[in-house]
């Protein structure tokens, strides 16, 4: 148990082992540990980001659905309004058309009636004369009574 050169040998060995450890052992393992720490941190951050993005997407999807529903409702109500309009328009058109047809029919009827009247008027004189001639036979002055009858016809 005496102090001797072993102490120097141990100091040299100590220095060598520490230097070896400092150069070849510690840095690679520490680098791996740091690397893993960073990887885990990145992974967690990515997961957090993903969750956030998913939340945003859900919100956006709900917004889109909401908008779509609103649009659909608007379209439906527009369509209904348009349908009603078309129905109303058709009714109006039909009424106007009916009125028009009615008016033209009336006019036609009147025209027919007038024509019939005219025809009747043109024939009534001669029929009356023929009738009168048959009744009175030849005692009537054709000329004098034609004037009289014409006056009568124009009064009908």
């Amino acid at each position: 148990m005496n102090l001797n050169a072993t102490i120097i040998g141990q100091m040299i060995a100590f220095a060598l082992f520490v230097a070896f450890c400092m150069k070849y052992v510690w840095p690679p393992i520490m680098a791996a540990l740091e690397d893993r720490k960073k990887k885990i941190a990145d992974g967690l951050a990515a997961a957090e980001r993903g969750r956030h993005e998913q939340e945003l997407a859900e919100k956006r999807a709900q917004q889109v659905i909401h908008e779509a529903k609103e649009q659909a409702n608007e379209i439906i109500s527009q369509a209904q309004r348009r349908g009603n309009e078309i129905v109303d328009e058709s009714k109006d058109n039909a009424r106007v058309e009916g009125d028009r047809i009615l008016v033209s029919a009336k006019a036609e009827i009147e025209q027919e009636a007038n024509r019939a009247k005219d025809e009747l008027r043109s024939q009534v004189g001669s029929i009356a004369i023929a009738g009168a001639a048959k009744i009175l036979d030849r005692e009537i002055d054709k000329q004098a009574h034609t004037n009289l009858l014409d006056e009568l016809v124009s009064q009908i």
Partner: protein, 289 residues
């Protein structure tokens, strides 16, 4: 187990003697045959057993961790890498907790100190005669030595040369960083101007000088003392095995108890050496004004 040829005191002495290589009185170089011859060799001798064990254990340590570091990966760790990372994380946490400066040397230094001392201390848990008997067998049959001249102290930390070697290594680093960080003037000022101011420089120097010198001495002697005492108790328990059946069974129980307790001591002493090293280096890095 004490061999029949040895008395108890011889057995103890045999176990406490290092295998020393140095220069004999007659000028030739060789291994010392007994304690007196080893003492005669003076300073320029080497304790072959301590040096061999410490290099072997340090080599094993570095080989293992180097092999892990070679194929280390940042992905999912497995097997040896898990184990190495667990230890390295533990040491890194200790360094971060105690060392406030920024120095890439401190963590590997703490790592080497802790595991190397732990492994050296761990040799204490080997059966006390196992390695010496192997050494004796090899010494007698391979080198043709006298069986009583084959000494082998298995636990390097029971050799003060080893503990002082490491403590002085740490002390050299403390001095180096003290001067590097604070400057030579700052370091000398810290030694001479505190705590009583510039009118009491001798008293200051005495106090701070003792304070400084106490660091490596206490570091080395604490480890050496604990391990030496522990080894001594193992030796004494081993002597009980040759003193009859009752004493032998009692010795067996004691051995188990002491070994379990010793697991705590060897870890604790390695941890204390490491922590104090970190603290001393931290103090060397701090500037007081």
């Amino acid at each position: 187990m004490a061999s029949e040829a040895l008395t108890s005191s011889q057995y103890i002495k045999h176990h406490l003697q290092n295998l020393t290589f140095g220069q004999h009185h007659d000028g030739s170089w060789g291994l010392a045959h007994d304690a007196a011859e080893a003492a005669d060799m003076g300073f320029w001798a080497i304790n072959v057993d301590s040096m061999g064990m410490t290099l072997l254990l340090g080599g094993l340590l570095m080989w293992f961790f180097r092999s892990v570091a070679k194929k280390v990966e940042a992905g999912v760790p497995s097997g040896a890498q898990n184990f190495a990372e667990w230890i390295i994380d533990f040491i890194n946490d200790s360094v971060r907790g105690s060392f406030s400066g920024r120095n890439p040397l401190v963590a590997p230094l703490a790592f080497t100190i802790f595991l190397w001392i732990f492994l050296m201390n761990l040799m204490d848990l080997l059966p006390i005669d196992l390695v010496p008997e192997i050494a004796k067998f090899v010494g007698v049959h391979v080198f043709g030595m006298d069986p009583h001249a084959v000494f082998f102290k298995v636990v390097p930390t029971t050799d003060p040369n080893i503990t002082f070697g490491m403590a002085f290594g740490v002390f050299a680093l403390v001095l180096f960083y003290s001067i590097k960080i604070k400057g030579l003037g700052g370091f000398v000022g810290e030694l001479t101007l505190e705590p009583f101011g510039k009118w009491a420089i001798p008293a200051n120097f005495l106090l701070e000088g003792v304070n400084l010198i106490a660091k490596p001495i206490s570091l080395a002697l604490r480890l050496f003392g604990n391990m030496y005492a522990g080894e001594m108790i193992f030796i004494l328990i081993a002597i009980m095995f040759s003193a009859g059946a009752v004493m032998a069974s009692l010795g067996g129980l004691l051995q188990i108890g002491w070994a379990i307790f010793h697991i705590l001591i060897i870890t604790l002493q390695a941890f204390i050496f490491m922590t104090l090293t970190i603290v001393y280096l931290d103090m060397a890095h701090q500037e007081h004004h």
